[in-house]
């Protein structure tokens, strides 16, 4: 199977091409079968690959072909397979397949089913290329493909201009990160003359000492790309708006896979980042700030999907924190468990929305525990994992990150404390959601129940969200080990206790109502704070004021195209020259012959002068 690695991205890619070319002329069941089946087959291939790889678990590099070779530039199409790749591939195809299966029911009545699956398959293919590529240029192809598909899917229901605006925002904001990343690639290529990931690591270690300016700059630029794609500060603003797409899209792209691309990028190039301690510190601090900021925001949202969106931003903050403090495998571990429970939560939210006439506001839901039992249990398990309650998958991964943060020299305990505060908030906002939506008075009656194609993926993901923490990932070879050593028992106990306290608080506030915060909330300061956090720390307004308005102002200033005067000059010159030269094409042979003679004379003169 290892020789057929290329089949894995090709399957969804071929299906996407087929669906695009046929443009919806296939019968609908066939479209669904093609869309979900291709990803299912890819998942099967990943399974087979994993099994045969397990016999001889050494990293392998496979070069399919060299695009061209001119001078030192030699872009290749090649794959690299190690534990990290395998983990990412499994998540993408496994969770991806479940989401595709779910989509076949969720999108059943949508008129553009073919377009939907074409984009989704293309996305899966691009993401697979991203994680399988053996060089950064090919990785960049996947990276951009993922960005494109996210644009297409966020704006999937393009008839509503709001969705179009959200898609544009996602595209433009991540583009800022992509540009930084492209600059980083160019810098690495100019310095080291290759973009092959393994060679880069080797050459960089030979060329630079830890902390050299160039490598710090290069990794900082790569971090810029990662921050954009993974929706971290300061480029996180696109993700909440990206919820405009269909809910399975949110589950696949904006929770389970695409936003983890930045985490993957950093983990894949950890040798480079290890040479740049300042960048690593920035990764950790950015992660911490993002996770806190997003957690506060999530606590104040009304829209079920926006709550989950901010929780995604917050959880990826944990992954960044883990990477920043050198807990590489813990970061990837959290990526995997997060993929399980976040896909579960989004799909469950999708089921709620689907069965509740597209209602998004949690305050218009309620009492759904008995009415939508499948969604309830899914949500309960997903939220438990998200809150990192003991024995759920999220607990193990988050615990590892927090412990590693605690052991980090100097500011470690501060990072740990911040992470704990985040964990407390996570527990509160996730169970706030559960208590408000599924308990209490019923506000809206569901008009249907999810069918098996929605229930089955939910059940599988439920199981994965619980047992996911017991898997041991084959990352030992691919990523450096975390520093060992046990902190004081108290530290561990606090880490375990915090989520439980958070859930209890949520219970007291939102369900039992023993703890009445209404006075605090309704006070002037409370109101203002709520508004402030509800708007996501006014980041959008800030960016609007800082970037968008000056940009629009400049655009208005240049409306009459003063800069184009020069270009228009070029155009007029070209046209004038064209007419001048055209007039020479008289069609008369004697004129033609005399120009030849004239040309010869000029040529002779040039040679005589130069010779």
């Amino acid at each position: 199977m290892l020789d057929f690695l290329w089949l894995i991205p090709l399957l969804p890619l071929a299906s996407a091409a087929l669906l695009m070319v046929t443009a919806g002329s296939l019968p609908r069941p066939l479209i669904a079968a093609c869309g979900a089946g291709s990803v299912g087959l890819a998942a099967l291939c990943v399974l087979l690959t994993g099994l045969s790889w397990a016999h001889d678990p050494v990293p392998r590099q496979m070069e399919l072909w060299t695009w061209m070779q001119v001078g030192t530039l030699r872009p290749t199409i090649g794959f690299y397979l190690d534990g990290l790749t395998l983990v990412m591939m499994s998540v993408i195809t496994g969770v991806g397949f479940l989401i595709h299966l779910y989509s076949t029911e969720f999108m059943e009545e949508d008129e553009s089913l073919s377009r939907y699956f074409a984009y989704m398959n293309l996305f899966v293919a691009a993401m697979l290329i991203l994680v399988m590529a053996d060089n950064l240029l090919f990785l960049y192809l996947g990276w951009e493909g993922v960005g494109l598909c996210s644009y297409l899917l966020v704006g999937f229901w393009y008839r509503d201009p709001v969705n179009g605006a959200a898609a544009r925002k996602a595209f433009v904001v991540t583009r800022i990160g992509d540009t930084a990343m492209a600059l980083g690639l160019l810098l690495l290529f100019t310095e080291l003359g290759t973009l092959d990931i393994q060679q880069l690591a080797e050459l960089a270690q030979g060329k630079w000492q830890p902390g050299d300016t160039t490598i710090v700059l290069a990794t900082a630029l790569l971090l810029g790309g990662a921050v954009g794609k993974s929706a971290q500060l300061p480029l996180h603003t696109w993700l909440p708006d990206a919820m405009a797409g269909p809910t399975p899209v949110s589950a696949l792209i904006h929770a389970a896979t695409m936003v983890t691309a930045g985490v993957y990028l950093i983990a894949r190039n950890h040798e480079l980042f290890l040479l740049a301690p300042p960048t690593l510190l920035a990764v950790a601090v950015l992660g911490l700030l993002t996770l806190l900021l997003a957690a506060f925001t999530a606590l104040n949202q009304h829209d079920i999907k926006r709550i989950l969106a901010y929780s995604t931003i917050s959880q990826i903050g944990y992954m960044f924190l883990g990477l920043g403090v050198g807990a590489w495998s813990a970061g990837i571990f959290h990526l995997v468990t997060h993929a399980f429970f976040k896909a579960l939560l989004f799909l469950a939210a999708g089921a709620v929305i689907h069965c509740l006439h597209h209602e998004h506001n949690i305050f218009r839901m309620g009492g759904l525990r008995t009415r939508l039992p499948v969604a309830f249990w899914s949500f309960l398990i997903g939220s438990a994992a998200l809150a990192a309650l003991p024995f759920t998958s999220g607990f193990y991964s988050k615990d590892q990150i927090l412990l590693a943060a605690y052991q980090w020299p100097q500011i470690g305990p501060w990072l740990w404390a911040g992470g704990l505060l985040g964990a407390l908030l996570t527990a509160i906002y996730s169970f706030r959601l559960v208590f408000i939506v599924f308990f209490g008075e019923a506000q809206t009656e569901p008009d249907r129940q999810p069918g098996w194609r929605m229930a089955l993926p939910l059940s599988i993901l439920c199981v994965a969200s619980i047992v996911g923490g017991w898997i041991s990932l084959p990352l030992a070879e691919a990523l450096p080990a975390t520093q060992s050593g046990h902190p004081a028992a108290a530290v561990e106990w606090i880490s375990i206790a915090i989520p439980v306290i958070g859930v209890s608080l949520a219970y007291l506030i939102f369900l039992g109502r023993q703890l009445d915060l209404s006075a605090l909330v309704n006070s002037g300061l409370g109101q203002r704070l709520h508004q402030f956090w509800y708007s996501g720390w006014r980041m959008d307004a800030l960016y609007n004021w800082l970037w968008v308005r000056p940009y629009q102002f400049t655009a208005r200033l240049l409306k009459d195209e003063p800069v184009d005067l020069a270009y228009n000059g070029v155009v007029h010159t070209s046209v004038a020259l064209h007419h001048l030269l055209s007039n020479l094409q008289t069609g008369r042979m004697r004129w033609y012959a005399s120009t030849m003679v004239g040309g010869l004379i000029v040529l002779l003169a040039v040679l005589a002068r130069a010779g």
Binding site: T66, V575, L581, Q585, Y592, G598, V606, A608, G611
Partner: protein, 483 residues
Amino acid sequence: MNLAAMQGLLPLLVLGLGAAVLMLQISIRRQLGWSYAITVATLLLGAAAMEPAMQVAPLQVTPLLRVDNLGLFFGSLFCLSGAVTAVISRDYLRSREGENEEYFLLLLLSTLGAVILAYSTHVAALLLGLELLSVALYALIAYPERGTLPLEAAIKYLVLSGAASATLLFGFALIYAALGSLEYAEIAVQISAGRAATSPALILMGAAMVFAGLGFKLSVVPFHMWTPDVYEGAPAPISGFLAGVSKGAVFIAVLRWFLESGFFQYSSLLAGITLLSIASILVGNLLALLQTNVKRILAYSSIAHLGYLLIVLVAAGVSPEPGLAVEAGGYYVVAYVITTLAAFSLLGLISRQSGDREYDQLSDLAGLFWKQPGLAALFTVALLSLAGIPLTAGFIGKFYLISAGVDAALWGLLAALVIGSAIGIFYYLRIIYTMTTVGEQANPGTTADMLVGSRLVVYLLIFAMLYLGIVPEPLMGYLRTIL
């Protein structure tokens, strides 16, 4: 002539024999189908004969010709291109009454001339190939006899080409007078031995006249005036043959002459070529800018492309390591020949004569995309390749050329190339844009009934163009081994 020499010359022998058989067939019984079949079979066999010939290469056969990998590769490329032209012409000739068998005979002889050019290592062989190529073409250009346009084109080409050949001959005579040799290798020896120092003026004058004569065949500015008139008047497949095979073959011959006889050592000659190149690039592209006849646009575009190709000569002369430049030239010729053939073939099929005129005005293409989406899409690919858009052969060719230019630090030429390409994109896209507009004047649909053969050939050309754009490395590697 021993057996090895016969084996080496097998492609030429096959073509010659094929021409003889074709003549016999025509004299015995006129039948277009047979003539067509014999021509295509001969050309394909000629291309296939490269394989046995390669086993004895490199081999000097008489002082005139050398059988080596370069000549064999491009020889078979020209054979295949001749076959493509024959297949497209079969389609084109359907609308022509009367006796058409000689058309194929002329095509076969013309291709033979092109192949001889690729083998030439002697001035006599060069002239022989050149005349064989051109004389057959005079007749082919005038073949349709509809209206006055083809006849006018043929007369113009005949007279001016004659003048150019005379200039060429005179140039060679001057060089012979100075160095006493017509053999490339011998000339190189004489030049490096310092004999040239005694009469540099004679040699430089001779070289200038040779370049003027060959520049005419390559339609390099200022020897380019005839190009649009002739391409417009000639049948579209023949225009394609003129632009692709004739120019490709002459360029290969120039490359050989220039490198093997050591003229690249003259920096003043390089300055002259630089001038010709820049003039061709700018003038060719500017002339195409607002042109409304598609055939004329393609003619001007071919002037510009030859300007790009001349960069190779300068780069090979300037750079201490001429390998990259020659590789780039080889790749560019292949890409250019394929793309040009495809563009003219498709244009021939699109603009096929109905009534008293060809539909080759830009406005005739309006709305083609909606009536003949397949044909328009193929033509679009060919145009994009001409413009040098990525994923096509044209892009890789231009990329190669630029890297050769950068390697030799030819900044002036590269600037011209970039400006020229920018102008070029305008008029190529203009054609594509016109095809997608909604118009009513498009050719009233004579294109649907393409013959299977021409359909196949066009698909193959487009496939080759995309293949070379996406997977260029095999051809690059191959050229690296043979050059």
